[in-house]
Amino acid sequence: MSDATLQKGTTTRFRSATEESPLARRALIGIAFIGLAILVFAPLIAVFAEALADGVSAALRSLANPDALDAIRLTLTIAAISVPLNAAFGIAAAWFITKFDFRGKAFLITLIDLPFSVSPVVAGLCIVLMFGTNSLIGGWLVAQGFPIVFAMPGIILATLFVTFPFVARELIPVMIEQGRAEEEAALTLGASGWRTFWTVTLPNIRWALLYGVLLCNARAMGEFGAVSVVSGKIRGQTATMPTTIEMLYQEYLSVAAFSLAAVLALLALVTLLLKTALEIRHADQLAATHRH
């Protein structure tokens, strides 16, 4: 080191190797903040502003409309059915993939990711092709008085397909990191497989499971493409919140459309708040169980 830099070094603090200069740090934070404001906060504020454009009472009146209420009820029902199912499927898939060695494992993981890469509209069309009135299975089911397409079962199938990866994707890395030793220990201590799952596996994955379920729930309530293909968008019967919002918007009923959109956004915000509240409440536990 030359004398000049040494003299400078006595007055300035030494930076660690991975630390950026203050200027770079501020610029990076600034860019992230601007991006967030444009992409996330502005649209969110716009939705609420549009909803309340004619005042609070107009927004509430549009929500009290029977079609809007039916849409909210249907969306909540769909989420209440498909989220627990996909939580169960996700746990089963993650368990199978991480606790056993078998051929075709990589293929199975790819298959779980498939709903992420397939366009939801294509997924919806596949369900129509499989279970539509003109198909073999669909025709028979309709004759039995149990239609799939343009009815609730079709919407549930589409939602299940689209939201399938969320829980499994959250769980697989956590379960791989934790390994099998704790489960094996429980077995050597005389616990049955079932007991091992409830007392050892589940407590260890509960946080990842919660994140997966929350993401799955948000997507189940918000899914548009696949649902709009299979549901037929019959008002009061098969129109969910996202499809109803689109129809209202197409009809230039912007207060009604944005009021319903605001409710949907609020539902998502509530799940996020719930997650944050749980994290704060169990912060010590999180720290204790995540790492040794």
Partner: protein
């Protein structure tokens, strides 16, 4: 309990982890399975514990065929390499786990479980740590808790996979003596896996030297030192 290993082999796909091996472990012995990694020693231990099933051959406990017994039926106290303590449970609940897992009919009362856990905590000389979580313990403490948890089920044998592997040299020496004391006190047939020849020679009554899925030599430590049966054993124990 006397353990008889009769022509046990184990294949993982196309690779043979164990060629047919036979071994007789007398009741109450303290036995070391010694060998480099990949020698098949851990596989053999896991087969004894019922965590792995042999491709061929039999395991006999006190003369009875135990090959088909499930891991739960074996009642082997197993101590895992990284201890595998339940991280979300206190030390007390970890040790009590095996007792709580028993079917209702044979499960001890809450008071009895508490009494036994307290006794085990005294046995491992850590009477004060029942309320702590595994993440709050040192490596040596974790190892002793794992040992207490394995002993709580009143096992028929004690199986330990590299029990001192993750510890520094000083703690290692202490805990070696600790294991010897617990073995002598309980009289349990004890098998431990190690790659450290000094550890095997100092602690075990009987040393089983393994390499490449085969047993090279079985004998008392001093006999193996004095008369190594193969070149591999000579190289390994003098290293």
């Amino acid at each position: 309990m006397h353990i008889e290993i009769d022509e046990i082999s184990k294949q993982f796909g196309v690779t043979a982890a164990l060629h047919p091996v036979s071994l007789s472990i007398p009741s109450g012995a303290l036995v070391a399975l010694l060998g480099p990694s990949g020698s098949g020693k851990t596989t053999l231990l896991r087969i004894l514990g019922g965590l792995e099933f042999p491709t061929s051959g039999r395991v006999l406990f006190d003369g009875q065929d135990a090959t088909g017994l499930t891991v739960q039926e074996r009642r082997a106290g197993f101590v895992f390499q990284s201890y595998a303590l339940f991280r979300h449970m206190t030390v007390f609940d970890n040790i009590a786990y095996g007792l709580n897992a028993r079917p209702r009919a044979s499960r001890p009362t809450k008071a009895e479980i508490s009494r036994r856990v307290t006794k085990l905590l005294e046995l491992i000389q850590l009477p004060e740590i029942g309320g702590r979580f595994p993440s709050q313990l040192s490596g040596g403490q974790r190892q002793r808790v794992a040992l207490a948890r394995a002993l709580a089920i009143e096992p028929r044998m004690l199986l330990l996979d590299e029990p001192f592997g993750a510890l520094d040299a000083k703690v290692r020496k202490e805990l070696r003596q600790g294991l010897r004391d617990i073995h002598d006190e309980t009289g349990l047939t004890t098998v431990f896996v190690t790659h450290d020849q000094e550890e095997a020679m100092e602690l075990a009554d009987l040393v089983v030297v393994m390499s490449m899925g085969r047993i090279e030599q079985v004998g008392k430590p001093q006999d193996i030192r004095a008369r190594p049966a193969t070149d591999f054993v000579r190289d390994f124990v003098t290293a």
